[in-house]
């Protein structure tokens, strides 16, 4: 029996009075590509940020690769992990942001090499070789020495994907990776993500690109008001939704 790579159990996250996540439970299996869809404000970003521990959950638990995230159980209580332990756990996930968040004072190559060099303390020569290979993989071999400001949005996002991959994560989190892009640049980013999915990477993708979800996703999860409303195979959820809210959302999007 294989185990889920990510197990989310009864997770709640509040911002003050507001419940951004309500009792969310979900499994993500190794090699699975999961697309999260839902209206703006439904908690999709918050869910990804909790998995990457950029946000701290208020109750429940998230296990990644069998390891409880952010806390340790001891004597019937939960104790928060130290910053360095959280940093170590974060290395198992790679995050791609809607607004790229490349480091503007570093070249494409330096952006990719920063984590392996500074955080993992690996050798410069080997990191450089790998970074160049990653750039080739995202189709940007000629842009190694360009600064982010010299790249188009689509190119920046592809560098951001390479930067996340450089840490050799087990799980890739994408938060609306194409939403900040001009329509003609969306395709090049989605192509890189498709290739990544084909290579067997486990991925959680928040997206409004239903075509991508239909083509690539093993499972589509529809969220509304901080809860999972419906999930299943892409063709079922997108083609024949059972829940009224899902139907309403899909007819509004298409």
């Amino acid at each position: 029996m294989t185990k889920p790579l990510v197990a989310i159990r009864f997770v709640a996250k509040n911002f003050g009075e507001f419940q951004a996540l309500k009792n969310v439970s979900l499994d993500v299996w190794p090699g699975e590509v999961m697309c999260l869809i839902g209206a703006s404000g439904s908690g999709k970003t918050t869910l990804l940020r909790c998995i990457n521990q950029l946000a701290v959950i208020d109750s429940g638990g998230i296990w990644l690769d069998g390891e409880l995230l952010g806390v340790r159980e001891q004597g019937g209580r939960l104790h928060r992990l130290s910053e360095s332990e959280i940093g170590r756990q974060r290395l198992k996930t790679g995050m791609v942001f809607q607004r790229f968040n490349l480091f503007p004072h570093k070249t494409a190559l330096e952006n990719i090499a920063e984590g392996p060099l500074q955080v993992q303390g690996r050798k410069a020569g080997e990191v450089r070789t790998e970074a160049l290979e990653l750039l080739r993989r995202v189709g940007l071999s000629t842009k190694a020495n360009s600064y982010p400001a010299q790249l188009s949005g689509g190119q920046q996002q592809r560098v951001a994907i390479a930067r996340a991959l450089a840490m050799k994560p087990m799980l890739m989190l994408f938060d609306e990776p194409t939403s900040a892009l001009d329509p003609e640049l969306v395709g090049e980013v989605l192509a890189v993500m498709k290739e990544l999915a084909k290579s067997g990477m486990t991925m959680m993708v928040v997206t409004h690109e239903l075509g991508f979800a239909r083509e690539v996703a093993d499972r589509v999860v529809y969220m509304d008001q901080g809860a999972i409303v419906e999930q299943g195979h892409a063709s079922d959820v997108l083609g024949a939704p059972r829940e009224e809210r899902t139907k309403a959302f899909l007819s509004a999007v298409i």
């Binding site: 942001f97 503007p104 070249t107 984590g115």
Partner: protein, 285 residues
Amino acid sequence: MKPAPALAEGFPDLSGMRIAREPHWFRWLSAALIVLVLAAIARAFANGQIEWSYVSRFIAAKVILEGIVNTMVMAVLAMALGIFLGIVVAIMRLSPNPVLKTVAAGYTWLFRGTPLILQLLLWFNLALVFPTIGIPGLWSARAVEIMTPFLAALLGLGINQGAYTSEVMRAGMLSVDIGQYEAAQAIGMGRLRALRRIILPQAMRVVIPPLGNEFIGMVKATSLASVIQYPEVLHNAENIYYANSRVIELLIVAGLWYLLVVSILTPLQMLLERRFARGTLRFAR
């Protein structure tokens, strides 16, 4: 195919005409007035009780040169101390730890809230409070011997500067997009490494112009150290005029040196700005 419609009459072709030059009478008039005023001031000084020969005699005197070197040494060291403290205090203020936050805010409050000259006098006279200082059982010394004018000036100027610089640094760090912290965390960086590698280099771009200002202020603020016998250029100029009574001449000598130093600093600042502008110009390098 329809022919292109004819253009309407009454709108002549202006493409051959030049723009006429306006006489700008007012500019000429005001410039002439300013020249007159300057000439009057120059004449007043030339005929006034100033022995210009003393200015030229002392401008490169050994004591004055030593003074300006001491001024620069103190300004650079105190500014370095100020920037170091400023960065540390700014990081403390932005940390989630309430103890660090309060300590940092208290430091800024205390050292910005009292006059610099008072702080210098306090450091210099520390021996009145603590006759001996040291680590109990390990090492101790008489405070009068430790607290030289140099050390008192360095501590007074540097620690005071740190209080101001911390606010400049804090503004710089706040100017960096929150997404940069998150991207740094997402590749596993801790808070301090993210600050050092990602946030501070970007903050530097924003803080260099105000820091340039602060450094120019520091060069001049070193003159306050003359009251605690630190031999900077004003102090040495004063010592000369106590002996020869050429007060104005020596003050002019010191003033000219300050002007020269400050004039050199401006192009240096531009070099630094260019260094930290990496990646911000679309076609940089």
